[in-house]
């Protein structure tokens, strides 16, 4: 469903005709008004979005030249670097592994999370009659959205510890060895699980809201025609929620490529997570541990460009615009 702008011209133009002079004056006086309403947003947008992007681009093309022994204030000067920082970033032995790691992580998280969100939304919608169970499930599954990623990682981090985990007890009860989630092969799944746990509920609510806007009469006529619930879900419901799925996919993709809080919080519990485990962690290390803001800027430009290409490429492939522009 989309809310469209009511056409304002027809109503506004009619009463204006009889008195052209005062209206022209008032319209003139008001011409600055929309800009005044927009001013705070535009100033903040320029200061905290536009300027930082331009500045990151500028920094990524600069470097520091150390002359002499590098002592004294004058010995370090910022000079033009061309694409040096980019080649250094791309050829850094730690960059490629962190990119492939995040790629694999995204391939686990995004389809699993959105698949579960779609499944749960369809189940909630199919079962509209059983309100109490549906309501309980809906609130429970949405609840993790209220838990910050840091706290979620902390809770799961303890649950992963073999000495604490009830899952270990469960495995041992049936005579199996539980997988160690904090081993080097397990950390990817450990972090992915936290993201899936935290994100499924929100996406479920988005899809469920889209489903709820469909009148039940549509399904009833399909049922009369002999369609099964599975067919109704597949042929009617999923196409209806497709725009929501596209948007949740794009937002999930952007969030996934920037994973930071979860691995940073798990680090004290799992020594298998390096300081460059994800590209964003590498940006952080380069900028604040190594004080190399220039290559950190280059790396963040690369990640941002990759994100843009992936999200706009995806929107182009599925043939949709990102937002209803209603103009």
């Amino acid at each position: 469903m989309s809310l469209t702008t009511p056409a304002p011209t027809t109503t506004a133009a009619a009463p204006a005709k009889p008195a052209p002079a005062p209206r022209a004056r008032s319209a003139n006086k008001r011409s600055g008004v929309p800009y005044a309403f927009l001013a705070p947003a535009l100033v903040l947008f320029a200061a905290f979005l536009a300027a930082p992007i331009v500045y990151a681009g500028w920094l990524s093309l600069r470097k520091v030249k150390v002359s002499g022994l590098g002592l004294g204030a004058k010995s370090r000067t910022e000079i033009w670097a061309g694409l040096d920082n980019y080649t250094r970033s791309l050829t850094d032995p730690e960059f490629l592994p962190s990119v492939t790691r995040v790629g694999a992580y995204g391939l686990i998280v995004v389809p699993t999370m959105l698949g579960l969100a779609l499944l749960m939304a369809l189940l909630l919608d199919a079962d509209r009659t059983r309100e109490s169970i549906g309501k309980f499930a809906r609130i429970s599954i949405f609840l993790p959205y209220a838990v910050p990623a840091v706290v979620a990682s902390l809770l799961w981090g303890f649950l992963y510890l073999p000495r604490v985990s009830p899952i270990t007890d469960l495995f041992e009860a049936v005579g199996l060895t539980a997988p160690n989630m904090l081993s080097s092969s397990g950390t990817m799944w450990a972090v992915a699980n936290i993201a899936i746990w935290g994100g499924t509920g929100f996406n479920m609510i988005v899809i469920y809201t889209a489903l709820r806007s469909v009148p039940t009469s549509l399904y009833e006529s399909a049922r009369i025609d002999g369609a099964s619930e599975m067919m109704i879900a597949w042929k009617i419901k999923i196409p209806i929620v497709m725009p929501s799925l596209v948007m949740t996919f794009v937002f999930s993709l952007i969030a996934t490529l920037q994973v930071f809080a979860e691995p940073m919080t798990l680090r004290p519990l799992a020594n298998t997570i390096s300081t460059t485990w994800t590209p964003l962690m590498k940006v952080y290390r380069d900028a604040f541990t190594r004080n190399d803001i220039y290559s950190a800027a280059a790396t963040s430009v690369i990640i941002a460009l990759a994100t843009f290409i992936l999200s706009f490429g995806f929107l182009k492939v599925v043939g949709r615009r990102a937002f209803n522009q209603e103009d």
Partner: protein, 287 residues
Amino acid sequence: MTTVSLPTRKPGRNRSAVATTLLLLGAAYCLLPVLWVLIASSKSAGELFSTFTLAPSTHLFDNIAELSGYRDGLYWRWMANTALYAGVGAAASTLISAMAGYALAKFDFPGKGTIFNIILAGVLVPGVILAIPQYLLLAKLGMTNTYWAVLLPSFISPYGIYLARIFAAAAVPTEILEASRIDGAGDWRTFAKVVLPMMRTGLVTVFLFQFVAIWNNFMLPYIMLGDDKLYPITVGLNGLLNQGASQPAMYTSVITGALISIVPLIALFLTLQRYWQVDLAAGGVKA
């Protein structure tokens, strides 16, 4: 009970049982960590790693007292900071978004299309490219390691402006604006007395979105702040956990802190549930 009705009803019942089971499994998965933290925060440091995971104990209030005693109640300062960052940030962001959304929905002016498209592009800008330059730019102004360093960047929300524009277009009839103008009300008065009340439902959603985003944010305050008296709860708990790695006695405080930190947001969610019916693609809210 006729045999005729069985073939048609049975699949329905099975499906419903399967659906119910799957939904309850999903709910159990989502509640498990919350249930665990509730139980674990009632255990003493000795019991944490020795007694059965899901067996509750009686030390919750001791743990809260110990957490409150940590460096003269630093934990509660983090909670207050988080409330300040999220409350002030979300309120300012909602007002700024409402003003911008109203201008974009209800006025015609040169540059309108361009401005709206730039703001839409801002929705998709990944935070990674902003973090370091934002820090460096604020450092030049001497504003890092202050409340402003976390507050100011959270005032702007392109997605909030996008939502506010849709709400303004849908909820504010142009006739009423005309009527208010004919009555001689100024533009600001019209906005405050007529437009804002009409957009109220939608603005609550914008506020909640931004409130949760700020409350859950980690990277921005982690980069901007050095003084742990200014930390929000996410950065504070992260630091506490890092300390726990060397002194495991801290773990009970970390766990109790984690529990207390999620109580306010869960309460907010349960009371304001109806505002969370968000249609992301259309931007609409069904209350």
